[in-house]
């Protein structure tokens, strides 16, 4: 009976997180209308200190986390990410920087490289105030080209993520061409996920079915042409695919995200959910947060699922979909994700899709900036 040699606690313990995502700041020089950051980010508390982050990194690594991502906001606005990367890398993490590239100088890049940074993902998007249209915004393109050349020279493959939406999706052909010109090895085309600012701007950002179909056709043509030279991943939007996704690969299963002000979350948008207490890494260790906090156990596994999902054979595959989406659409974070056709609220998705097909209505974009954030958090 070998198993008796294993202490009962170790036998029952679930694995620790695999991912640690450090959202080190909500500050950002850009104002993307599709940003997934919380709409009320301006109300967030003070940012964690370098030492707070080092503690989080060490504790997450001790639990077995192997992937460390730094994002934001724009993480380069903090001057200590080199220190965080060095610590994480030294402990054996694979270190990823997710950046818009704004603020990445030769000196900064050299310091990050020296600290052991493994990978850079450049977000290639900029629905800024000056120009919603990526294509006309040559300044942005020049910046991305410069940054890509710099990172390439430093030995990093060029990995680009571009968020697609109603106002740029018709230019996909040109976007892919730009990625080729820049010498990208990998391009992720992510359709907008309607969280945070993107949900606020949903009507303005949602493409029509015809736009999407065309975008997929364009992508297929380029894929065939480029082969292994540049890999393209087209992420189909939830609303149109009608397939609920196993959000973050399951609540509290592999992913741990920490907000600039120290809240530990099972998903980077979970902060919006009502009725939950979010543990702060200033007050609690990562071990307790991961294994024992009410938050990480709230939607773990499938036992909590609503009736629609309990009787469904797909429940282990998708765990009832995205909690944030369920909440934003129905007001109930424990509802079946309405993108599922079996959801009693699926009509809401059909209505949103129908709205996107209506010709003529122009919805103004609300840009992500501290002023709008403060204004939107006010009750009147």
């Amino acid at each position: 009976m070998d198993t008796l040699l294993v202490p009962p606690d170790a036998m029952q313990r679930r694995p620790g997180p695999l991912w640690l995502l450090a959202e080190v700041t909500y500050r950002c020089p850009l104002h993307c209308a599709f940003c997934y950051n919380p709409v009320d980010f301006a109300q967030a508390g003070p940012e964690l200190s370098t030492d707070d982050w080092l503690k989080v990194i060490r504790e997450a690594r001790a639990l077995g986390a192997a992937q460390f991502g730094i994002s934001g906001g724009e993480p380069l606005l903090r001057d200590d990410i080199e220190i965080l990367v060095r610590e994480a890398r030294g402990l054996g993490f694979y270190t990823n920087l997710i950046t818009s590239g704004v603020g990445l100088t030769e000196a900064r890049l050299a310091a990050l490289k020296d600290a052991g940074l493994d990978h850079i993902q450049l977000s290639f998007q900029d629905a800024t105030r000056e120009a919603n249209d990526l294509i006309t915004n040559t300044r942005t393109f020049d910046l991305k080209r410069k940054v890509a050349a710099m990172t390439k020279a430093a030995g990093y493959p060029t990995v680009i993520n571009c968020v697609l939406h109603r106002t740029n999706i018709d230019h996909l052909d040109r976007i892919i061409e730009m990625a080729v010109e820049i010498g990208a090895e990998y391009l992720e085309l992510a359709n907008t996920q309607y969280h945070g600012w993107a949900f606020l701007n949903r009507e303005a950002l949602m493409p029509t079915a015809a736009q999407l179909a065309e975008a997929e056709a364009v992508t297929e043509r380029w894929k065939a042409r480029l082969g292994k030279k540049m890999r393209i991943l087209f992420v189909t939007p939830d609303y149109q695919s009608k397939k609920p996704k196993k959000c973050m690969n399951g609540w509290g299963e592999v992913f741990l995200s920490v907000t600039p002000d120290g809240l530990a979350l099972p998903c980077h948008t979970a902060r919006m959910l009502p009725g939950l207490e979010f543990p702060n890494v200033r007050d609690h260790g990562i071990d307790w947060i991961w294994h024992d906090s009410p938050l990480f156990n709230r939607f773990r596994g499938t036992a909590w699922l609503p009736e629609t999902c309990q009787s469904c054979e797909d429940k282990d595959k998708d765990h009832g979909g995205c909690r944030c989406q369920a909440f934003m659409l129905t007001g109930d974070p424990s509802a079946t994700d309405p993108v599922c056709p079996k959801s009693p609220d699926h009509g809401l998705i059909d209505a949103a899709l129908a709205e996107a097909e209506k010709p003529g209505t122009v919805h103004p974009l609300v840009f992500r900036d501290p002023k709008n954030s403060t204004r939107l958090a006010r009750p009147f």
Binding site: L18, G64, Y94, D118, H119, P157, V159
Partner: protein, 89 residues
């Protein structure tokens, strides 16, 4: 020209993970957990050793013989997965 020598693709990092008690490949999107033989083969893909040197090395280390087919099949799969590149100079 020298025979090609396999090396780990620079997009991946190969290391021992204590939490998994296994060798793993880390890459931007995640982690591949390797079984023992895969770990032992990749450990020797340093861009300096040829395939036959790797085979000889493994046979010596594990006191075995006839490992060539298994090693070659694994390297073919690893190549298809982009885990390795080939040094030829």
């Amino acid at each position: 020209m020298n025979p090609a020598r396999p090396a780990i693709n620079r997009l991946f990092r190969f290391q021992w993970e204590p939490a998994q008690q296994a060798h793993v490949l880390l890459y931007p999107e995640g982690m591949v957990k390797l079984n023992q033989s895969a770990g032992e083969i990749l450990k020797r893909c340093d861009g300096a050793r040829t395939v036959s040197q790797i085979v000889a090395d493994l046979e010596a280390a594990f006191n075995a013989s006839g490992l060539a087919p298994e090693v070659e099949a694994f390297l073919e799969m690893a190549d298809a997965q982009n885990w390795i590149t080939w040094n030829t100079d």
